[in-house]
Amino acid sequence: MTTPTPTTNGSASGLRRVVFYATLVALTLIFLTPLVWMVITSLKTYTAAQQIPPSWLPNPLAGYGYEQILNNSANPVLRWFLNSMVAATLHSLLVLVTASMAAYSLARLRFRGRGVTFALIVGTLFIPPTSLIIPNFLIVDQLNWIDTLAVVVVPGAASAFGVFFLRQFFLSLPNELEEAATLDGANQWQIFVKVVLPLSRPALATLAVLSFLTNWNDFLWPIFVLFSPEKLTLPPGLGLLQGSYVTDYPVIMAGAVLASLPVLILFVLAQRHIIQGVSRSGLKG
């Protein structure tokens, strides 16, 4: 699992350690500087941001970018923030409920057509979602969902990933607990709610966080199905903001900061779930 650094010859290993940590720090700078620069710029005035060479610290420290965003009827950024929050939360809940029930059925119950159903669901994992955008647009148009909340909440929940992910987890649970519950007279619904779901909390949390992130960040779909400024979610809204402010970078960066904060906070809080979810999805392949 690890490659322990040889400790036999002191100076060589000391040098190696210095190089090792220097590499880590250099990489940290590469990954973090753009994000730090986004925050710094969002706190500058328009003129300070136009200055060449740019200053490393926002001087004067200005709320200009954020003020522009908060009082802006053409670009209601707070409204977009709220829309994104509601959409991502509802989407995540919808995925949890529908995928966990379906995965339970596919993992733990026996019925005619189970193999075919599962094969059909998994089969769609191999179809690039972008190739279904045109027909899906016609479907939501027929449903009169264009420019509504439903259009960014519901269609994405058809993704096979959640079902596939939870089914794998449910298959790994021991049978004994269910058997005991059955002997106690529990029906399948009670076993699902009282035994299986509580045991699956880590997997459910991982799926909830990943679904939230995906929905919060989705860009391609909402730019074509949401139009009214007050209906937009943040990603298409940011595109609009860039269109209206072009090189007024403090405003654009303030918008970017607002769109990044929730997911960065979520990442800090749920890092383990996100990283485990990603690595587990890799091992399945």
Partner: protein
């Protein structure tokens, strides 16, 4: 339709009646016949409407001339397909330009997105204080959406005001590179940003794979006098093969589906040279109102990707033998 979905969900939320019936049946643990289907129902409604129906509808659209503005949608056979391959059609030039852009981006980005994250993973696959911290830092850009990183990098790569040119100037390199408007810089920018954005993701997948390789194998190799490179070549690489296959396949698919980076950072520039297939398809289908032709393009594109994925699988399977 919304009603159907709500009904489905509501039915699922209540205890399925069949389960109660089964409990009263002769043997405990027997499941009511309808129970498995009731559990599946809410998801299957979603899957049917937004997962399966679009596939069928896409095939149907692709053989019709389907304009949002026009009442008649006549059957046109394979015309939408043949147009893509006949050089005298109106769409031919733009379509193949977008295929070319997608191919260039995929060929340039995939090797880097396979190798750089492997380097990161090998670096992080040691035990040292702060390991989890550094892993989180390298992964962090990935949690941001393409809209955020697109706006951010459009700014960072701005020829005059951008930080990238400023920093290059500080170290004495040319500080007026037109990163987002000229070739070859536009491709370098798009690939570079994508590597910065998604390397952490692949690195985490590699890390999980590395931790599945038994330490005893490394120990045995060391006993046999294998040096670091030989241990990498003969223990790490074979141990990572399934993960490598997964990473390459998903990365090829992700790169081939690139859209947001060029839409926001280069905005297709120069000209429409960095307009990708996905971008061209949605533009054709949703902006230019030709859903039939766009559907045909989607299907050709999906088939191309399928061929590439299958080739990838075969290549790796043969190597394993």
């Amino acid at each position: 339709m919304a009603d159907v979905i709500e009904v489905g969900a509501a039915r699922g939320d209540a205890p399925p009646p069949a389960a109660n019936a089964a409990r009263r049946g002769a043997s405990a643990g027997r499941t009511g016949r309808a129970t498995p289907y009731l559990f599946l129902a809410p998801y299957l409604v979603l899957f049917g409407v937004f997962g399966l129906l679009p596939i069928i509808l896409g095939l149907w659209l692709s053989v019709h001339q389907w304009d949002f503005q026009l009442p008649n949608r006549p059957f046109v056979g394979l015309d939408n397909y043949t147009e893509l391959f006949s050089s005298d059609s109106a769409v031919y030039g733009d379509w193949w330009e977008s295929v070319r852009a997608t191919a260039i981006f995929t060929v340039l980005s995939v090797p880097l997105l396979v190798v750089v994250p492997l380097g990161l993973a090998l670096l992080l696959n040691r035990s040292f204080p702060g390991r989890t911290f550094f892993r989180a830092i390298y992964f962090a850009p990935y949690v941001l959406g393409v809209a955020v990183i697109g706006l951010l990098w459009r700014f960072l790569l701005d020829a005059n005001l951008g930080l990238v040119n400023r920093l290059l100037g500080v170290v004495g390199l040319p500080s007026d590179t037109p990163w987002v408007t000229n070739m070859p810089w536009a491709w370098i920018s798009l690939v570079g940003v994508t590597v910065w954005w998604t390397s952490g993701f692949n690195a985490v997948i590699y890390l999980a794979g590395l931790q599945d390789i038994s330490p005893e194998l490394y120990e045995a190799a060391r006993m046999d006098g294998a040096n670091a490179w030989q241990r990498f070549r003969n223990v790490t690489v074979p141990g990572l093969r399934p993960v490598l296959l997964f990473v390459i396949t998903t990365t090829v698919l992700a790169s081939a589906n690139m859209f947001g980076q060029s839409f926001l950072i280069t905005q297709g520039a120069p000209g429409t040279e960095t307009r990708t297939v996905v971008w061209f398809i949605v533009e054709e289908g949703l902006r230019d109102n030709d859903a039939g032709r766009a559907a045909a393009m989607s299907i050709v594109f999906a088939l191309l990707l399928a061929v590439v994925s299958i080739a990838n699988f075969r290549l790796f399977r043969y190597r394993e033998d």
